[in-house]
């Protein structure tokens, strides 16, 4: 029977609660592989269709693992195996790297800072309302549109990088690792993920929250704690 992989913990970690349910209401069980314990669940098919509900259910299992006290190594959604034996084989082949990752993440959680940038929409509108557009040929209008889009992307990137550096400075003493991304659509925003010690969450939130007063911030949202998805890679 196919199985869905939720996360990995050390062999001695607490098992999942008996009442815990995962994707499609399936029970969550422990599958042991060497010095690892994998939280898995039975699945109807090997190749999963991603839905909002399934993503939430996957994350709920990881959240329960995180709340148990040991930081899990969360699996990317969609990690399924045809049989338990196949899963065990894959885990044992990477046991050293997975144990190293668990050790690296011990005592840490992921926090997120989501910043919606101000000013980009207003600038875009101002550029779009240029009256000289009415006299231009279709070709020139097209090139002007490309030019506006490139200008806005550069504006968003500059604004986002300034805020990312500002945020990094504010939370530096509470953060072990950081990753960020800048998005220009559907809304201009900066998304930052931080790896934070469990006992530093309160000062971290306080420090990150002061970014709200910075120019260029329309909305700021601090999320977490989460299982450390953004820092779970074992490559390299």
């Amino acid at each position: 029977m196919p199985i869905h992989l939720y996360c990995l913990l050390s062999r001695d970690a607490e098992p999942p609660p008996a009442a815990l349910r995962g994707v499609d209401g399936a029970p969550v069980e422990v599958l042991r592989a060497g010095r690892l314990a994998a939280w898995v669940g039975p699945a109807a098919v090997v190749h999963v269709t991603p839905t909002v509900r399934a993503a939430r259910e996957h994350d709920t299992v990881n959240a329960v693992a995180l709340a148990s006290g040991e930081t899990p190594l969360p699996a990317r959604f969609g990690q399924r195996f045809a049989t338990e034996a196949e899963c065990v084989s894959n885990l044992e082949a990477r046991e050293a790297a997975l144990l190293a990752a668990l050790d690296r993440l011990r005592g840490l959680v992921e926090m997120g800072v989501h910043v919606e940038l101000a000013g980009a929409s207003e600038r875009s509108s101002a550029l779009r309302d240029d009256p000289t557009d009415l006299t231009w040929s279709p070709g020139r209008k097209y090139l002007a549109g490309v030019q506006r889009r490139l200008y806005m992307e550069r504006f968003v990137q500059r604004q986002a990088h300034f805020l990312q550096q500002r945020l990094s400075a504010l939370v530096a003493t509470h953060v072990r690792q950081e990753t960020f991304s800048v998005h220009t659509s559907p809304l201009p925003r900066l998304i930052v993920s931080h790896l934070v010690p469990r006992d530093a969450l309160s000062p971290y939130r306080q420090a990150a929250g002061t970014l709200e007063g910075e120019p260029g911030v329309r909305v700021i949202l601090i999320t977490g704690p989460f299982a450390p998805y953004s820092f779970a890679s074992i490559d390299g």
Binding site: L5, H47, T51, R53, R76
Partner: protein, 84 residues
Amino acid sequence: MRDEHALDETERLVLGDLLNRVLDKGVVISGDVTISVADIDLIRLGLNLILSAAETELRHAAGRGDPRIGDDADPPLLPSEPGR
């Protein structure tokens, strides 16, 4: 009204954040993560496109009072099957 709009905005940001983490991050054990649409295996989907489309759809759904972003909702995150 202003507070209701702000709450919807927050819900969308939180959900988008969750989808970004769960679908695009996390440890990968067995090479590429394979997910399917209409029984067709798709390797290395452009998840950024999916997430952007999902966020756009959620914004539209919220704007028309669609309950699909609620806890019981189960909208597919990938394009509908061909021919539909």
